[in-house]
Symmetry: C2
Subunit: 336 residues, 2 copies
């Protein structure tokens, strides 16, 4: 059973376990600092498919396949799959997973989807509804950029605050028991909108949501930043991480010493011309599953907070002059 | 706790209760057979907002407001809200609910979202993760048609199999206990794609998913169609309902006598020029919350199956020549 901790946090009494995980990356990601960590790398942006969208679907298939193999599970052992992505109507997920024949629950949390899916899979296992549940997410530079911003061929100059959509995917298998990484507590975020409307500054739009969720988690659990080896945000990038430090500092928390951001880890910001860092559902997904979870298994981290953030706008809402509402979901992980 | 029934169905041991529900409808819906049932009707397609998208967001707010009032709850009593819609990046939900300050979990099941949200809210309550959870969904003819098909001004002729996107919204409040309608069992659907690619024949694309979920539920629970007062599909319409009868008949089930479809109930097909019936997330949502749940409370139905169906394609996938994958989620409801 779940229990409520404080006002907004839930605790998992039986600790669902991430028993397998898979990560997929594209060419640019494979030239970054995490190059040796990904399970599979596709140098062709179409990965042998006829469109970028189909390639992204294929990445989800591959990430799930790797995760299932690592946990020694087959698709027919999976009771539910929670999946989502950035494309309109989440087609990377629906087309990518349609041949798996697994009960499917589509999620939309924009770049927060990896944390959201992990929470929902863990809730389903903890509640007795599933023995085994999977979550997966993805993003693709080519499919996302042309949908959200400009045709790829346009080649417009990018602003210093812009982030680079990660081509990649991450998937976790969550089970009732086993060896792996335990899901201990989670805080589902609220929608926060402090009025940022610049589509090229997603980090600043998402930082307030991250600060809100993180503060609520600390209050609910009566813990402090130093109680965790790592506070890992999804894709705030350089600008958003700075905003987060400032917002947390105003609330009396200093997280600088143990914070990192998947968008800062996946690329070398100086060398790879990605401006403020990586972004996209696949950013948090692929960094968690390629680097953080394996390092936790090796003992590098004993207790971490994984918090993916998402900006919930669309090109339509932006063209209508709306600001960007954001959300951040937090999961507390430690080895079992 | 949840328990698994057969291969794919989950059972709610403590029976979460729908204690409040709200329904919103537009002008055309208010001229249909259910006109006296809706909680609120907006005759202006913009509902006083500056865009159709903002109007749809406003419908979600209103539906949640009505549902909360009926269950005598305030927004701050709600632990989680599960919301989704048809618009790109689910902006009706994110913009509509951002001021509620409720932990938010975005869902994407296309027109199956009402059933999906109801299942997730019930799981959260049953698991102990929430004392009170809300689900909401919406659709709007004007925001959906221009996104999925043609500019509204284009005025193209519609095919006989085409359905009419419902302008409306539905919301349920789910609690641990209370007076209302109990959530007994649920079957989460798998993605099914039998190769239909005609965007103007969604019913035919979704019927196979509905048949699959319904057959699995009957097998898992060892029950038959006649055990239920009503088998209510979301928006298969006239063509899809016919396909469903045929597919079920091949599996040895006759559901004709106790089946109805929200898309057939909300409009008068002869009189209202809607061709094969209503569709959209708001179709199943508004019919369930305006008509079915109140009628259950009055004793008309004692045991029903509510199964909303969704087509998981996007305009991009259709333009790329892809067929339409679909999904259907089923909830078994009876008064407590």
């Amino acid at each position: 059973m779940l229990h409520r901790i404080g006002k907004y946090t839930i605790g998992f009494e039986d600790t669902p376990v991430i028993t397998g995980f898979g990560s997929i990356a594209g060419k640019k990601e494979a030239k970054g600092p995490l190059k040796n960590n990904f399970d599979k790398i596709f140098y062709d942006p179409r990965a042998g498919q006829s469109t970028f969208e189909k390639a992204e679907s294929f990445f989800q298939q591959e990430a799930v396949e790797v995760a299932l193999n690592k946990s020694k599970k087959k698709a027919e052992d999976v009771d539910f799959i929670f999946a989502g992505d950035l494309l309109n109507q989440c087609i990377s997920s629906s087309y990518g997973l349609k041949d798996y024949n697994i009960p499917y629950l589509g999620q939309y949390g924009a770049c927060s989807t990896m944390a959201q899916g992990l929470i929902m899979a863990s809730v389903m296992v903890e509640s007795g509804g599933a023995n085994c549940a999977v979550c997966v997410t993805s993003s693709h530079f080519c499919s996302a950029e042309r949908q959200y911003r400009f045709p790829l061929e346009y080649g417009g100059q990018r602003t210093p605050t812009a982030q680079w959509t990660v081509t990649g995917s991450g998937s976790c298998v969550v089970e009732k028991s086993g060896k792996g990484i335990g899901v201990r507590r989670a805080t589902v975020g609220k929608i926060v909108d402090l009025g940022v409307s610049d589509l090229n500054n997603m980090g600043a739009a998402m930082a307030p949501a991250a600060a809100k969720t993180l503060c609520e988690f600390f209050k609910d659990t009566d813990t402090k930043p130093k109680d965790y080896d790592l506070i890992l945000t999804g894709d705030l990038g350089k600008v958003g991480s700075g905003c987060l430090y400032e917002l947390m500092s105003k609330e009396g928390y200093n997280i600088k010493n143990n914070h990192n951001d998947c968008g800062l880890m996946i690329f070398d910001l100086e060398r790879q011309d990605v401006h403020a860092g990586g972004s996209g559902c696949g950013c948090a997904g692929s960094v968690l599953c390629s680097t953080i979870l394996p390092e936790m298994l090796k003992g590098k981290y004993k207790n971490i907070l994984f918090m993916a953030t998402g900006a919930l706008m669309s090109p339509t809402s932006s063209m209508q002059g709306e600001t960007m509402p954001s959300v951040a979901h937090l999961v507390n992980l430690s080895p079992v």
